[in-house]
């Protein structure tokens, strides 16, 4: 045993204890367990939303993309401010509607708006599918952190199994209240870690950020802006657009909106959230430092770049603290994702087919948690995606809900349930084909569109089908 892994374990156990203590004496109703009794204030919602938006992806994926593709990583900076502008008007509307109708899940929203249980089922399945790569990404991050921090003592695979077990137990015991308190600890840890590394590392290796960029520019001209590689400007613009559209569509993000005390809280949050982005700039700087100081990592290894650099620079005990920050950034969002997956499966996918008392329903949700985790672990063994690749797949799937959501808020909704069902199904099928077939759809595209995100293509298919089917079935719905 080394001091790094001991410190890491100690901080994780402490977070675990906080989560369990928070749950003591709280209500056992499903609404209380999943949406925190709908009374969180501005600061808590801000932290909770930050906790979901800034995950392992930020920490490991951001530095890895900066290391691999240079300026293309700025896409991560661009999409959320755009989404927050949408969110400024969208989130209070969603919150208000959810409150009026006492909604708990995202699918409830679509069921009420379009008066269609089938649509609700499809929304749930899409949400479920898109959360799986998001969960795998967190598990992958956990495995990397623990095995790297142990200095090879624990293999990446056994680390993944141990961490999955910890996450399952954590979720089954704590529910939503637990994650809020731990989110606070986690955000303080991650904020200070990233600021520290982002300033210290370039000063330590180059004497400052400016010199580092000068050196990098001399060595690899144009690396720190968007290049004409696979990650060209077309890729950039389409991926920013896709991610901005998808940001509020995540089932767990929806659930977090319901927890707000008032719609004013959400408006203020949407206006202030972009400032969280400053954190990301430092993550990229860490990735840039590694380009020349830790050269030669291939794509499969590039998700390790931040931790390898930290290990090369610091004492084991600092490695332990930074590792712990990383573990919490995976554990908090991971547990929220896992909780959403379980509630989705029971309340929205299974419950139309079996009827349960609310007590039994809650029990079944808890029982589903380990089953889902096992399924995700099996899926993990099939994929060779990087952390960034996994997230973009998830976004491609989840953004398929966006057209129907926006249309439902229009004064005269131009589409009906038939159109939205057909649109969502075709968009999702397109996306699944895009992921699963080795055939690159890109090779069939005109050259001016090379690099365009698969999710945007799927979204185009979705919208076209939605409008055509809505027009065809327009008369039918008024006749029946």
């Amino acid at each position: 045993m080394n001091s790094a892994i001991i410190i890491l374990c100690a901080i994780t156990i402490f977070a675990f204890w906080v989560a369990v203590a928070a749950n003591y004496g709280k209500t056992r109703q499903l609404e209380g367990w999943a949406v925190g009794n709908r009374n969180f204030g501005t600061i808590l919602v801000f932290i909770l939303m930050g906790g979901e938006l800034y995950t392992t992806f930020t920490f490991l994926g951001g530095s890895s993309l900066a290391y691999n593709e240079g300026g293309a990583c700025y896409y991560i900076l661009c999409y959320s401010p755009i989404a927050f502008v949408f969110g400024y008007w969208l989130t209070p509307a969603i919150w208000k509607y959810a409150k009026e109708h006492n909604l708990v899940s995202q699918a409830d929203f679509f069921i009420h708006k379009y008066d269609s249980k089938v649509l609700g089922l499809i929304v749930s399945v899409i949400g479920f599918l898109s959360l799986i790569p998001y969960l795998i990404l967190q598990i992958k991050g956990l495995g990397i952190i623990v095995s790297e921090t142990s200095y090879g003592l624990i293999s990446s695979n056994s680390a993944i199994w141990v961490c999955s077990l910890v996450m399952v137990v954590y979720v089954m015991i704590s529910g939503m209240h637990g994650s809020v308190r731990v989110a606070v600890i986690k955000d303080i840890l991650i904020l200070s870690t990233v600021f520290f590394l982002g300033i210290y590392l370039p000063v330590h290796y180059y004497g400052g950020i400016e010199t580092m960029i000068n050196t990098l520019e001399l060595d690899r001209p144009g690396f720190i802006i968007v290049n004409n590689t696979d990650f060209n400007p077309v890729w950039f613009v389409s991926t920013v657009l896709l991610s901005a559209i998808g940001l509020y569509m995540w089932p767990h993000g929806f659930a977090a909106l319901y927890t707000a005390r008032s719609s004013q809280v959400l408006k203020k949050n949407a206006a202030v959230m972009p400032l969280y982005q400053f954190l990301l700039m430092f993550v990229f700087i860490i990735g840039f430092v590694a380009v020349l100081k830790l050269p030669g990592l291939d794509k499969a290894q590039s998700d390790l770049v931040l931790l390898k650099l930290v290990k090369q620079t610091f004492n084991p005990w600092i490695v332990g603290v930074i590792g712990a920050a990383g573990v919490l950034t995976a554990l908090v969002p991971g547990s929220i994702i896992l909780l959403s997956l379980a509630t989705l499966l029971v309340r929205n996918i299974l419950s139309p087919f079996i009827s349960l008392s609310s007590k039994k329903e809650l029990l079944l949700v808890r029982l589903c948690v380990p089953v889902i985790m096992l399924a995700a672990l099996i899926a993990y063994n099939y994929g060779g995606q990087t952390i960034v690749g996994l997230l973009i797949i998830g976004y491609g799937l989840v953004s398929q809900l966006f057209p129907a959501l926006v249309c439902s808020f229009l004064k005269y909704n131009p589409v009906n349930k038939y159109g939205t069902i057909a649109g969502m199904l075709s968009g999702t099928m397109f996306m699944l084909v895009f992921i699963l077939t080795p055939l690159k759809i890109n090779s069939m595209m005109p050259t001016s569109l090379t690099g365009v995100s698969g999710g945007i293509l799927a979204l185009t298919v979705n919208i076209i089908v939605m409008f055509i089917v809505s027009i065809i079935f327009k008369n039918r719905s008024s006749l029946s």
Binding site: G71, L77, C78, P81, G208, G222, I224, F236
Partner: protein
């Protein structure tokens, strides 16, 4: 009144099309490549613009 909401479109476009508008290393600002500076600038401005819109909306709500 409603016109002020159109302000929100500007940061969206500036960020979405950043690599088409500002894909340059020079001029460097605060040591950062121009593209990165451009993006950080618009992130701050988008927050300011949304706060201004929020103020106006609340004011018109009270009147």
């Amino acid at each position: 009144m409603k016109l002020i909401r159109l302000l929100a479109v500007i940061p969206c476009l500036a960020l979405l099309f950043a690599p088409l508008i500002a894909n340059r290393v020079e001029p460097r600002v605060f040591g950062l490549p121009f593209l990165l500076f451009w993006i950080m600038l618009w992130i701050v401005l988008s927050s300011c613009i949304m706060l201004i819109i929020h103020k106006f909306e609340r004011k018109s709500l009270h009147e």
